[in-house]
Symmetry: C2
């Protein structure tokens, strides 16, 4: 399949030189970017980029996609109460079918708001994978392994993880991969953590784990183990370049050093962290200054309450500026980096996606500038400011993944939007009713 | 003119009991709400509310509308440098025509994102008023009085203010009012502040003033005057129920008490405060607990970078939860209150707008729930959660002000959208080029 996105007002490449091109066309063949610049307009799809910005699809490194069904179900509550009285009771009633419809709803929202690739952690992975395949997105899926230090549970969890891994392998998709998902150091036994790491090494895949999300969790852990979560993970040999450490809010300078030393990757989820108010602000500046790869995640829609990475980019910039009393902290270009090329790096996909370069796979989005919130455009690098501070996911009008258009000019091609929303509403009712 | 908005899935009334009505119609005649409940469908406009939420139009109590032309022009800079090297040089080149086009662009964005009423401070008020009249919005406009303690300037500023007041009076609009706009205690002489208060008392209008926006400003003021801004304003007798104190970030408990004692109103602008990173977080909880009226503002698009009050509502909730380490702080219903009925109260308009009640003027918006970010709806009060945490201004599909539809089903009626955006782009180029 060939696509030409012609005459884009701007192409924000996110290439190593962060080049921004004016009045530029991009040609895609068989899923890959083959030309950037002038282009013949003979292609299966010719997409008009005039009045629009072309940029790499956004990469969301932490989701619980099926939880889209729990959006707005319970807000303004303390984390533990929220989990115990609202979320866990619902999760005990989950089925594969429910997870499928929740995942499809999440995919729809991501296509509409310009996310092309994400890393998910949840249950009923086979059903989630089916939704992702149907939607056409790129994803790395992980089964949430929670054994609660019970060896019988560990066994069941390992079996479920192995089955999920086999199912994803059987799928044989270039777009859908697997990650090991040991849930967190305070919900998984040492054995399970190390087993997950071992499988990840053998399979050459990422590890997806929540770490140091709240002050309470970190304090509790230290009380029980006499050391912090990261110190413990270092001690047992769990830290590795394959690890995507989600949240990582309550870290000391020493722990950031341990991340740097082990080349751990981070998924920073500012909206969820602020909304659940676990305390503190993730030390993003400190991590970046020690060359730790930091990427961005929305977390699930139950704690955000959307999957819009534009929303997360803006709030990420704002919270770190405000927290540092310094408006120059996390400038727009750096935030866009976290949501594109750094996201790709966190997932080990930086040679394939995350920027617009010849040879890379074509995960691309178009932002329509003909919207009052994106007028005027002052040109040059200010386009990046407009994307981070003024744009919203709903300004995205075209989404292409691996060279396949999933949405063009605001029209969904991959999914039947009405049907996905109707079935999700029904699934939510079945879950909560 | 008569309008029936029929069969709304939900009507979020914001009445004193915060009633939320299911499957409900609202009838408007001659600009006022005359019936809530069942309604005959014989009206000039019959608007289908099925699959939608009807709520009072949002009220933005601090804007610099014409600065929409400076959106994205200069970001990630320190406030003083930003003002001195970027904003002020542009402002020296302003003309009435430029301000008119900037204001029209701001009005367009507000209509699209569900704001029906706002309070503005800027220059060339006659031209701004012309834009607001054309757009059909409700507004209170103020001329930014800055005399820099120079009596000659004071005289000019008073003359300009008086002319602006006369121009607004001559307009004779029920929708467009005037406020006195002494810019800030650190840019206005005591004489000008007191003159502004005197005129406000005589005319029965609000006073619109920036107070304690940044740590630097407050510290500087204390160094020069030996007291804080609010103590000084109390001492000279400036504080009053007519005052809408914008920002009010750097306040002590004692200063909050002075606000309470003088029934001062506050316009809280969380996005701008975080982005300019002046330090600290406005003591919203403390103010609310002392019954100070707190409303929400976006500030200008040059420091936000949008005028979307849904964005401001979400970020307001997030920043106070995060700052307090408590997710129960500023729950969704309270945040929606700040953006509706408390906004009306801040502007002295609570008997006319801010809620959906029989007899009130019909400033109404419809949010379309057929969008992936607003699925599912769990019902009841969760609708308010969905509005505050998941909705975006672009989910608004109809905007009605004083019973006149400005946008219906996503189609602009009041303004020629393409023309407004084109002319704004040209005006921005004339300003910056």
């Amino acid at each position: 399949m060939s696509i030409v996105i012609r005459d884009c007002d701007w192409v924000v490449t996110q290439s190593p030189s962060r080049e921004i091109l004016r009045d530029c066309s991009v040609r895609v063949e068989d899923g890959r970017i083959v030309k950037i610049g002038d282009s013949e307009h003979d292609a299966e799809y010719v997409v008009d980029g005039s009045g629009k910005v072309l940029l790499p699809g956004l990469i969301n490194t932490h989701t619980h996609l099926s939880m889209s069904l729990m959006r707005g179900f319970a807000d303004d509550m303390r984390l533990q109460e929220w989990l115990e009285t609202k979320i866990w009771p619902l999760e005990r009633r989950l089925t594969g079918e429910v997870c499928y419809h929740g995942a499809l709803l999440g995919c729809l929202e991501m296509i509409r708001t310009g996310t092309t690739c994400f890393m998910d952690m949840y249950f009923f992975l086979g059903d989630v994978a089916r939704a992702v395949e149907e939607a056409g997105l790129r994803a790395i899926l992980s089964h949430a392994m929670i054994d609660l230090f019970d060896s019988k549970r560990s066994e069941t969890q390992r079996k479920m993880t192995q089955e999920a891994l086999d199912a994803i392998k059987a799928l044989g998709s270039r777009r859908v991969g697997f990650a090991m998902g040991p849930h967190a150091p305070n919900t998984c036994s040492e054995d399970s953590l190390l087993w997950a790491k071992e499988v990840a090494e053998r399979e050459g895949i990422p590890i997806h784990t929540h770490i140091a999300e709240t002050r309470h969790e970190q304090a509790q852990f230290e009380k029980e183990k006499g050391m912090s979560e990261v110190e413990y993970l270092e001690k047992i040999g769990f830290l590795s370049p394959r690890l995507v450490a989600v949240h990582s809010v309550f870290l000391t300078g020493k722990e950031v050093e341990l991340y740097a030393k082990n080349r751990v990757k981070v998924s920073h989820c500012p909206v969820s962290n602020m909304k659940l108010a676990g305390g503190g602000v993730a030390p993003v500046r400190e991590m970046v200054s020690r060359n730790v790869t930091v990427s961005l995640g929305t977390d699930g829609a139950a704690s955000n309450n959307c999957l819009d990475m534009f929303d997360t980019m803006k709030i990420c910039a704002l919270v770190h500026k405000a927290h540092s009393w310094d408006p120059t902290v996390l400038p727009a270009q750096q935030v866009l980096d976290l949501a594109t090329i750094e996201g790709a790096r966190a997932l080990g996909l930086e040679s394939r996606v995350g920027s617009i370069e010849v040879g890379k796979e074509a995960d691309l989005i178009l932002v329509d500038l003909k919207s009052p919130n994106l007028v005027p455009i002052h040109g040059g690098n200010t386009v990046v400011s407009d994307l981070v501070y003024a744009a919203h996911g709903m300004n995205v009008d075209s989404t292409i993944v691996a060279g396949k258009p999933l949405m063009l000019n605001g029209r969904l091609l991959a999914l039947d939007e009405e049907k996905v929303m109707d079935e999700a509403s029904r699934a939510a009712l079945a879950l909560t009713g």
